[in-house]
Symmetry: C2
Subunit: 393 residues, 2 copies
């Protein structure tokens, strides 16, 4: 009598959330220090000092009625101006505050964008492996999700497969670089090829195909830069979140930026506003809006993540694991030593190691390891990873 589909989604949690809940129970049972939880992308590095300082100053100095009051539906203008300025200076790309929409986090950005562009029956492409909630969000928005597997090895786009997947119904493609779960970053060459292909297909079908650039990991890269997609392709909606860069995942704060070069960008932005409104998202949480407005230029300290990555990568490689070269985010994508990644994750559980099998990311035979944890946890887990691998020898 209720909506069974929703009840189903509520009962069958995402595999990541399932492990998250299992981890909480297990830690309560045997002590947190005895569970080696590498399952969830909850940053282990505390929010930068500048964020805490901004929070404290805002609470102390700003009139509470204004601080905690409604902002404009699309977000406070001053905050949007600050973010536009940041985009301009960082990417040398013209950003209009009136094409920025403040959101309650990355999930909100995605559902709003999808509901803004999708008409029932449209298709949305995802590049596998992909964050599994993309399917839930896209299907709820009325789209059919089309999976296109990336190239094995470097996890760049397989353009032959992608071209085959595009048709007149293709409304959008979600691009997530740096990628969850692989840590791969799409090279400039990949982005240029993608733009060329999409422009060709738009012309061929007389349609618009939007890139939804889901970029929560943009700042988490090592020794390289991540191409800014709006510079290469006009019909782009950038979904940004401060969850990972400012270690604020629980605060749900981010934004959507509609490229000023998108066809009818004003109309696209209006659809974003309309979707935000009808999904119940107007006015992102105000205290956090003002905080990120003040901290738009603050960068994360990557020291720990880099150290963790190198430690993990070197050791796992030494033990005989095959690891995808990790350019960004805080994930290692590791080939399962047996075909069935679920079976491998179950075996890891015997060592109290919690990993996420890749199957739900639309790609079989791998596991995702989040290294956004205390370095000590990795050190203590390494002998267990070694013993685990020995079982396969």
């Amino acid at each position: 009598m209720i909506n069974e589909k929703m009840a189903g989604l509520g009962k069958k949690r995402s595999v990541i959330r399932e492990i998250f809940e299992y981890a909480k129970l297990r830690k309560a049972e045997i002590g947190a220090e005895n569970v080696f939880d590498f399952s969830i992308g909850n940053p282990s590095v505390p929010t930068p000092k500048a964020v805490t300082v901004a929070l404290e100053r805002l609470i102390k100095e700003k009139d509470p009625v204004a601080l905690h009051g409604y902002t404009s539906a699309q977000g406070d203008l001053g905050v949007r101006q600050s973010i536009a300025k940041h985009i301009e200076s960082k990417f040398d790309f013209k950003a209009d505050p009136n094409l920025i929409y403040m959101t309650c986090g990355a999930a909100a950005s995605l559902t709003i964008c999808l509901n803004a562009i999708v008409n029932a029956g449209d298709e949305v492409i995802v590049l596998a492996p992909f964050f599994p909630e993309y399917r839930v969000f896209a299907e709820k928005a009325g789209a059919k999700l089309i999976e296109v597997l990336c190239r094995e090895g470097d996890f760049q786009i397989d353009f032959t497969a992608l071209e085959k997947a595009i048709n007149a119904k293709t409304k959008g493609i979600i691009v997530n670089s740096p990628n969850n779960p692989t840590g791969a970053v799409f090279s400039e060459e990949t982005v240029i090829k993608l733009a060329t292909l999409l422009n060709k297909k738009q012309a061929e079908y007389g349609t618009y195909i939007y890139i939804i650039a889901d970029e929560p990991y943009r700042e988490l890269v090592y020794d390289m830069s991540v191409p800014y997609i709006p510079k290469y392709y006009n019909n782009t909606l950038v979904c940004y979140s401060y969850s990972k860069s400012l270690s604020l995942p629980g605060e749900r704060i981010g934004y959507i930026f509609v490229s000023p070069n998108a066809n009818n960008s004003g109309e696209v932005y209006a659809a974003v506003c309309g979707a935000g409104r009808s999904l119940g998202f107007v006015c992102a949480p105000s205290l956090l809006q003002y905080t990120v407005g003040e901290c738009a230029d603050v960068l994360p300290d990557l020291t720990v993540y880099r150290k963790n990555r190198d430690l993990f990568l070197d050791a796992l490689t030494e033990y005989g694991y095959t690891v995808v070269p990790p350019d960004g985010a805080f994930y290692l994508f590791v080939k399962s030593p047996e075909e069935d990644a679920y079976a491998f994750c179950d075996r890891a559980k015997k060592y109290e190691i919690l990993l996420v099998p890749s199957d739900d990311f639309g790609c079989k035979g791998y596991v995702r390891i989040c290294y956004c944890v205390e370095t000590d946890q990795i050190k203590r887990a390494l002998p267990k990873f070694k013993a685990l691998m020995e079982e396969y020898k």
Copy 2:
């Protein structure tokens, strides 16, 4: 090519948001002190000291990784326990933390509940006058909105009209008491009659009909108590928000509580979780979750609102306006001196008085006056209201 319905909703803002934006522009033009803005329910009373103290202490003392980290999808268990305890002690009603779902504000609570219960083609009843966004939320969830006008005079439910509106497709009814925009509170007699009618209709059609109790104004009442609907009717989902009670409208924090007595309450709660997930709402903003968890028993100071209400009510009545007896919330619902409430609002604008016409609330011929403003603004506006009425004499 994008979703035209969403673009339409984005371009045609809600009438309240339109006036909100007009007020901002007008204040910039002629000075805030010269605009008598009674259009938006943004509490003028600052958040209670206890809230600021809790915010400051949490930021200072709680580990930032935990404070700003992901909570469970449905909200932190400790916070939900604290709210359950509050419900039990305040209403003497058994509340299960595992039937509470923390949300990013009242709009989120409503869209989640609607998406949880509605299947395409279902009908949802609203009691007019009603908050206009109910229509946007319900239609986006796939429901047909059915308006049932309340009794003129006291704005209690017109049960003859309501009974006629209920049929086998009726999935829910949104009950908003204290009411926006009238300030009316449904009496215990009204709630008992409503429960009786709905139980009769459920039996007649072999269906479940859910009350969605939208209760952001619950604490804002004078000299009376507001019946707690789950005590009277089993299939109830309570949507609570701290926006008005704790003066935190911009922070978007609230909860859904599924009555443990609802049929298959676990299934209904799962649908709430699934809807929250697919709309992009898992894990309400964490800092504010912890804050309201600590402040679950904090009550608003109603001194100013009571003073404002009495001042306004007495003066307007004296000038010849007809005002609905206001029991709660911070709205006065005033009969327009001319048939067309829009024309009256336009006339008021000449005096720089900003009011909201009732038409968009599904009821013609009234205006809504928000008295959650500085008392001084009311005092300075009164001569203008007087002059405005003189125009009709």
